[in-house]
Symmetry: C2
Subunit: 213 residues, 2 copies
DNA sequence: ACGAAAATACTGACCGCACGGTACACTCGG
DNA sequence: CCGAGTGTACCGTGCGGTCAGTATTTTCGT
């Protein structure tokens, strides 16, 4: 045939395609390996060859599945961010009172962040290694996720069940929710559910209107 | 003299020496430049040559003042950690009631962390690039610093002015104090003092004993 | 059912280069 | 003229990425 036998761009499709290829599984293995290594050592300190080693793929073959190292970083992060956004929006849509909704949001986020502890670590530490466009795409998802907190807080204030708080405190709340991923280790003295519960309690206490001094 | 004219280890002394050399000032400039760049781009993503450029020193001359890139990273971090530890211990030594002491501790730490925002960013992101010995030296200082919080909490519980809290919440408190450095920008809508005040209020509320539901 | 063509998946050698670090000759103030 | 401090040229290496070619699976005409 007249078509060149060696194609210069063999990549089958979009980054997150669910293409019915067998090698899709390989890509998942690569992303999983990268997640572990990036979280352990950091993006810049991890040679791409190590990712290949852990995934059982030669360096050359790696580049059949990914476009670049940065591409891999993005793949790791975007999955997590999207899943989280979706979960948060589901909580938001439930027809509940603000207090209970907040409790569920906190619980969901803490659990979700501990489940994806590695991705969170990578996001915080290495997100700046992304190209500007991809970074802002991720930050967009992130912002939309955290807007859920604002919205519930507003609902609570409107209903009179929460006191209005300064933006400083609001950011502090977000920090409280994210915090456990810095120190949590599976098998530690507290389960993720217990952690979530303690934090939810503490937050509720801090938000109660006209709280006793 | 019989000493070789070209010394293989020309470094005058310890990392934090106050040796009476004029070029000590140059070293400070280098450390300052490194602090800025490491904070902006991360340790691994910053070529040592860029540090030289910003400090107005050629790459070769750089190595007259520092032993290695990692040496520079340590220099940046250890100054901050030691200063912080000292300040915290001063607060601790004051003869005050636990509640007031806690308020002062929170205020001091928030202010101090915002003053040294860059060092904090670097510590969180890049500390693992240090050799094991130096890393544990730093972590030691860090731990001793945060023990101040534990101690005050214990005092408060003993005096009955604070309720006992779960370790999860205790770590959350630390997270609250550290949190502002992630988002604070000089010239923003809140001054560091205001931030400290809001957080101290929120924390006091969360710790009040038998707080109204 | 079969085999050839084509798409898919992988190999391993190679490239260019940026980086951390060194060698060493110089300069210039005291 | 000494030596603290600097500039420049250089070195080795580890890295991200490419590419020509090969193996393996899938497709499909007959």
């Amino acid at each position: 045939m007249s078509v060149a036998p060696h194609r210069s761009r063999p990549h089958p499709g979009l980054p997150l395609d669910a293409l019915t290829h067998r090698g899709y599984e390989t890509r998942q293995r690569i992303v999983a390996a990268a997640t572990e290594l990036f979280a352990e050592r950091g993006y810049h300190a991890t040679p791409i060859s190590d990712v290949g080693d852990r995934a059982g793929v030669q360096r050359g073959a790696l580049y059949y599945h990914i476009k670049s190292k940065e591409d891999l970083l993005f793949a790791v992060l975007v999955q997590h961010a999207q899943a989280m956004l979706q979960g948060v929006q589901e909580v938001l849509a439930q027809p509940l009172e603000a207090e209970e909704k907040l409790r569920r949001l906190v619980t969901y986020m803490v659990l979700s962040l501990l489940e994806r502890q590695q991705e969170m670590t990578i996001y915080e530490r290495d997100r700046r290694a992304l190209t500007a466009g991809r970074l802002s795409e991720l930050q967009d998802i992130h912002e939309r996720t955290w807007q859920a907190l604002d919205q519930i807080l507003q609902e609570g204030v409107a209903a009179g069940t929460m006191r209005p708080i300064d933006p400083v405190v609001r950011k502090g709340l977000a920090g409280l929710i994210v915090n456990p991923h810095h120190w949590y280790r599976p098998g530690g003295p507290r389960t993720p559910s217990e952690i979530a519960e303690h934090l939810a309690d503490f937050i509720r206490g801090g938000l109660a209107p006209a709280s006793a001094k």
